[in-house]
């Protein structure tokens, strides 16, 4: 019997199985994860709320003591604060600061932490010793005095108060990379022993390629968790920084600052509209970033074949 020619549909059916890189695969899985979508929706809403919202507000962020401490009304949807300013408008303006800080500080934190962590974990030897000892010193360093000194230096250098917030993000990153670095290092220490790393050795890959292509995806889950937690803590620590004159310059608000304004029993009981909105805003952002983080981690896990 002569050989029948393979039918056309055969080729069509198998095309889809073409090779897809980890990133494309991850993206496809990421989009399909319903938590990721929820996270993205909330985050985009918060970003729009913060950056576009103020243009729609009828009010100006101007103190007017006659309208102080009014509960939510249809004129002021979230009521007014002790200087008579519209809480909703301030919440939006505050979003701009808090979101930028939260995300920027965390990126810096991760960048430094992961690079140093993987270098010291991978190379070991004297390099590891130096990096880890520096980490010890920074970790033991009391945060508060450093920030006070930073405040002093910045005012001596005549840095305009409004720009300080960006320097602050950098400082936040510099101070808090130690935790991530140690976590990444300890993971790399055990990963280094695994067979697939011996394989990369055999292939003669450059060290940087080994770290980025092979080790990094395995460390990604921890890094993502540290990232999501980093955003939350940066947003909150920004409020303590404002106290030290490093954070937000009044009258521009930030979520942390609005929350700290409600630090007495009476505001708790009598004026919940002062502290509930910023609290909810921070929580929504943090939860959204966490869902995205979770989804990212699952998406990048090749074993997850679904």
């Amino acid at each position: 019997m002569e050989r029948p020619t393979p039918t056309l549909d055969y080729r069509k059916k198998n095309k889809k199985r073409g090779g897809t890189s980890l990133w494309q695969d991850a993206f496809r899985r990421f989009i399909r994860n319903k938590y990721a979508i929820l996270g993205l929706v909330i985050l985009t809403f918060m970003v729009l709320f913060a950056f576009i919202g103020p243009y729609f507000s009828p009010h100006q962020d101007v103190p007017d003591v006659t309208k102080a401490n009014q509960p939510p009304s249809n004129e002021h949807w979230l009521g007014t604060d002790n200087l008579g300013r519209d809480v909703l408008l301030r919440l939006m303006l505050a979003g701009r600061i808090s979101l930028t800080i939260g995300i920027a500080a965390t990126l810096i934190l991760l960048l430094i932490g992961v690079t140093l962590g993987s270098i010291s974990g991978y190379y070991g030897g004297w390099l590891d010793v130096i990096i880890m000892r520096i980490a010890d010193i920074i970790y033991a360093m009391p945060g508060l005095p450093i920030l006070i000194v930073m405040g002093a230096i910045m005012s001596d250098l005549k840095i305009p108060p409004a720009h300080r917030i960006y320097y602050v993000m950098f400082i936040l990153g510099i101070i808090s990379w130690v935790g991530v670095a140690r976590l990444v290092r300890s993971q790399i220490l055990s990963l280094k022993e695994q067979e697939f790393m011996l394989a990369t050795e055999v292939l003669g890959l450059k060290d940087s390629k080994k770290i980025i292509k092979h080790l990094f995806p395995n460390v990604l889950p921890t890094v993502i968790v540290a990232g999501t937690l980093g955003v939350a803590s940066s947003i909150i620590s920004e409020s303590t920084l404002s106290f030290l004159g490093l954070g937000v310059v009044p009258p521009t608000p930030s979520w942390g600052y609005m929350l700290s304004a409600a630090n007495n029993m009476i505001d708790f009981a009598k004026r919940p509209w002062l502290w509930i909105p910023p609290g909810v805003a921070i929580m929504l952002t943090v939860v959204a970033i966490n869902f995205i983080g979770d989804a990212l981690r699952d998406a990048f896990d090749p074993r997850q074949k679904i």
């Binding site: 938590y35 070991g124 010793v129 880890m132 000892r133 980490a135 010890d136 010193i137 970790y139 033991a140 360093m141 009391p142 508060l144 005095p145 450093i146 006070i148 000194v149 002093a152 935790g179 140690r182 976590l183 290092r185 300890s186 993971q187 220490l189 055990s190 022993e193 889950p221 921890t222 993502i224 968790v225 999501t228 937690l229 939350a232 947003i235 909150i236 409020s239 303590t240 942390g256 929350l259 700290s260 409600a262 630090n263 007495n264 029993m265 708790f268 009981a269 502290w275 609290g279 921070i282 929580m283 952002t285 943090v286 939860v287 966490n290 869902f291 979770d294 981690r297 896990d301 074993r303």
Partner: protein, 321 residues
């Protein structure tokens, strides 16, 4: 192993010196000193201030002050606190154990609850429990400690009167033995609850991620193929591996046991070292602050050595070079 520890201890000496120099410099650079705090006292004339600065030795050049301070430190002599007018060591001793007590309780509950939530939400990934737990955790995680502290205080101490408003012992009481412990425990409930709720979130996320990683491994399938109970598979085989990276986190927390939670101690009036050091920073009480920070630095270095040693023991693959 011993050789490794000794080498690490030797390595920590330059770290200690480096840290002491940096800390001394930073705090000396901070504007103002103990005397400028008297700014508001109308009787304080500039000549008087200069006199006081000389008395406290604040007028000597920085290097000289550092050398005399470091010299004393080596002899274990931390000098007198300017604020309390008594030896730094006795000031620290008065307060640090209260912070330690709080720290131990917090750490105990934090790790207990975080592990349970973390593991359970890993096993039931994307289940209803996992979603609710995530939501609650991040609700708590996004609240600053002073905020949650005041909230709990209002509900449980003022409205329901289940727990005292603040302090460590009932005023005027001189209980001893068991009654004293019960009294202190009753006062600890709210501060511990505040800090545990805040910190449990982060830790449980790490537990969950590590567990998710480990559950997918082949040796878990082998364990199940051996016919072991699910509990054994999870808590013996999976947890042991998931705990490895957390050792680092655990040892990082040890120094904070002594550091004291400045804000929470202030709200609950807990006589911990945190509140005192916060005041020392503002008042620029150099001896007290420097003494305390060096103590924490030493603890951190020891904790880090412990971390690497523990890691070597727990993970046989990591050879202690």
């Amino acid at each position: 192993m011993a050789q490794f520890i000794v080498r690490r201890l030797l390595q920590s000496i330059p770290t200690l010196i480096g840290a002491s120099i940096i800390i001394f410099l930073i705090f000396a650079l901070a504007p103002g000193d103990y005397v400028t705090r008297q700014f508001e006292n109308p009787k304080m004339t500039p000549e008087r201030m200069e006199q006081l600065r000389a008395l406290y030795g604040l007028d000597k050049p920085l290097p000289e002050r550092y050398v005399s301070w470091a010299g004393n430190m080596l002899r274990g002599e931390m000098g007198d606190s300017l604020m309390f007018k008594k030896p730094v060591i006795s000031v620290i001793n008065d307060f640090i154990w209260n912070s330690f007590l709080l720290g131990v309780a917090i750490m105990f509950f934090e790790w207990l609850i975080a592990s349970i939530i973390g593991i359970y939400s890993a096993i039931r990934q994307y289940s209803v429990f996992d979603a609710i737990a995530t939501l609650i955790i991040f609700m708590l995680y996004s609240l600053p400690s002073f905020f949650l502290g005041l909230l709990l205080l209002k509900i449980f101490a003022v409205d329901l009167r289940w727990f005292p408003v603040g302090g460590m012992i009932t005023t005027g009481s001189n209980y001893t033995g068991w009654a004293h412990i019960m009294d202190v425990a009753k006062h600890m409930v709210l501060p511990v609850a505040t800090l545990t709720l805040i910190s449990v979130g982060g830790l449980s996320r790490y537990f969950r991620t590590n567990m998710l990683e480990v559950i997918k491994q082949d040796y878990i399938r082998t364990a199940r193929a051996k016919g072991l109970k699910e509990r054994t598979v999870i808590f013996k085989h999976a947890l042991r591996n998931a705990l490895l990276p957390l050792i680092t986190l655990f040892t990082l927390e040890i120094p904070s046991l002594f550091a004291g939670a400045m804000i929470t101690e202030r709200i609950y009036n807990w006589p911990g070292i945190g509140k005192v050091v916060l005041q020392a920073i503002y008042v620029r009480d150099y001896p007290l602050f420097l003494g305390y920070t060096m103590l924490i630095t030493v603890l951190t270095i020891l904790a880090n050595i412990l971390a690497d040693v523990l890691y070597g023991i727990a993970d046989p693959r990591v050879r202690l070079k």
